[in-house]
């Protein structure tokens, strides 16, 4: 049986339907990515699975325990790393882990060894006795990751684990996540809007939009579903209709000043394609990304959503900065 099972899981706030019925089945040991723009229902879904939010309808179970009827058992079996930093910044690193160990009832005989093992995993041993207020953003994240793991959950939920971090730190965090999943043999469910990063880390992804899963599969499967390679051109006055009529072209989209063409066997058909367009200023071919999948399915660019939409993460980033003081 799958470690996470959801059946028509839904949540509404008054008239607003945040999650509109999600059916998922996630196997033990998977790293599963829940991808989607702001307000798509990612955080709400995770909130329900962690028993923080009560579903309006539908059901779900984790490690065989129903999230509504057996919340204490579910809580014991899940670890969660929130989008916002939730460390106790007056306590030291080791004290934060100790508090967590006590709350989860990890017996004192193994507490110390387990905490050391965890600090070692994220290379925080030499800062363990420092107050976490003095930690950098990346260090705080790392500590939160292992705090979520401390009680050996069956499932670890990570809500935007790299939000607000610089690219280098983000790459390191992903390395740690992969290492943790391997070492501990646990199931990881994460949300992120960094599509490229999700591609590298996740075994399987579900794309969620307006509270529904609109695509589900391995990153390769989803990219293959686009039907081939991406050709991106800068063209004056592109003959869109002509392009759409070509047999080997599976999609044409305008993105800024660029024409993005999805086509099969680009290496064979590119000369023919170029012969039909005049005034080509530049051409670039690349493999499709998950972001292309997202654009194809929703007609929107997830990156644009995140720069234009103020929404949750600008606020989180602001709070994040505030906490650094």
């Amino acid at each position: 049986m799958a470690i996470i099972e959801t059946r028509a899981l839904a949540k509404s706030y008054g008239k607003i339907q945040a999650v509109r019925g999600i059916d998922l089945s996630i196997e033990k040991g998977e790293i599963f990515g829940l991808l989607g723009p702001n307000g798509a229902g990612k955080t709400t879904t995770i909130g329900m699975l962690c028993t923080i939010l009560r579903p309006s309808s539908g059901s779900a179970s984790i490690a065989g325990y129903d999230i509504v009827n057996k919340p204490a058992e579910v809580r014991r079996n899940v670890g969660i790393v929130f989008q916002d930093l939730t460390l106790d910044t007056i306590l030291t690193g080791i004290e934060n882990l100790e508090l967590h160990a006590r709350l989860y009832g990890i017996p004192s005989v193994i507490r110390k060894a387990r905490i050391e093992e965890m600090l070692d995993l994220v290379d925080l041993k030499d800062r363990a006795h420092d107050i976490t207020r003095t930690y950098s953003g990346g260090m705080r994240r790392r500590l939160e990751l292992v705090r979520g793991l401390l009680h050996r959950p069956a499932v670890l939920f990570l809500d935007e684990p790299t939000l607000g971090l610089d690219p280098q730190t983000r790459a390191r965090i992903w390395d740690y996540i992969k290492k943790m999943a391997e070492n501990e043999g646990i199931t990881v469910v994460l949300t992120t809007h960094y599509m490229e990063e999700a591609e590298q880390v996740c075994d399987r992804v579900g794309i969620i939009d307006y509270g529904r899963i609109i695509a589900l599969g391995t990153p390769e499967e989803l990219k293959d579903s686009l039907g081939g390679y991406m050709v991106v051109m800068r063209v004056n006055d592109p003959p869109l209709d002509t392009l759409r009529g070509l047999p080997y072209v599976s999609g044409v989209a305008l993105n800024g000043g660029m024409v993005e063409i999805t086509m099969k066997e680009a290496h064979l058909h590119l000369p023919d394609l170029l012969s039909r367009i005049r005034n080509v200023e530049s051409v670039e071919t690349r493999a499709p990304t998950l972001n292309d999948v997202f654009i194809k399915l929703t007609g929107r660019d997830i990156r644009e959503e995140y720069t234009e939409d103020t929404g949750g993460w600008v606020e989180s980033a602001a709070r994040y900065r505030q906490r650094g003081n």
Partner: protein
Amino acid sequence: MNPRLVIAREGIDLMHEGHFKRELRGIYAVWWREFKIFQREKSRVVASVVQPLLWLFLFGSGVGASFSVGGVNYRDYIYPGILSMSVLFGSVFFGLYIIWDRKIDVLKAVLVAPVSRVSIFFGKVLGGCTDIIIQVLILFAFSFLFPAVNLWGIPLALGILLITAIAMVSLGLAIGSLFESLEGFQLVATFVVFPLFFLSGALFPVDERLPIWLQGAVKLNPLTYTVDGVRYALLGLNNFPLYVDIGIIVVFALLMIIMGSILFSRMK
């Protein structure tokens, strides 16, 4: 032995752990956190001890130069009142501190642990009471400077102040659960804490010389009975029988615990 194997086995044992034991451990964990923070924030402790001493030695000595009440020097007379004041302020503000905890999301990680909200509430109450009682003990250490104070009355006074601390931390947590912004702090200080203090008879005797409206307000104030009980224990002066004082404080504490745990459990 490989710790991982041990943990795996313990993990299974934990699933069968009793409900009651789990909650007790949760209460202890929250208390442990509060006590760590108390130990770390020494400046808070110093401030909370120095402030009542300023009241006693600057205000009390000043007024005491020309006044005494019931044959007791005014400075000694307000000692029980100032003890009660420091319990009131310390407790309510400790409880209200959860507004800040929520703002910086410290509570979030605690609230998803497999421990009930009510246990987290009790852990907080115990943590607050520990802080307050330590502060009160420090203030008691100065009691030899007040000639009128009967040192044998200290245990009774401590008991009354402990029950009051339980009530007032619960009240602070209850109010804190309702507020989402720190502006609430100022409101509560102005409209709850200061009236409770001024209307408690901490600084003046509660008798028929007071205007009628003031007498009524003072008698409705639960802190009045704390001050009266502590004053009886330490100075042998009282306006109400001791059983009335204790009875009212206990009932008030129970009401606050019930209200606090309900509001804390419903907190978003």
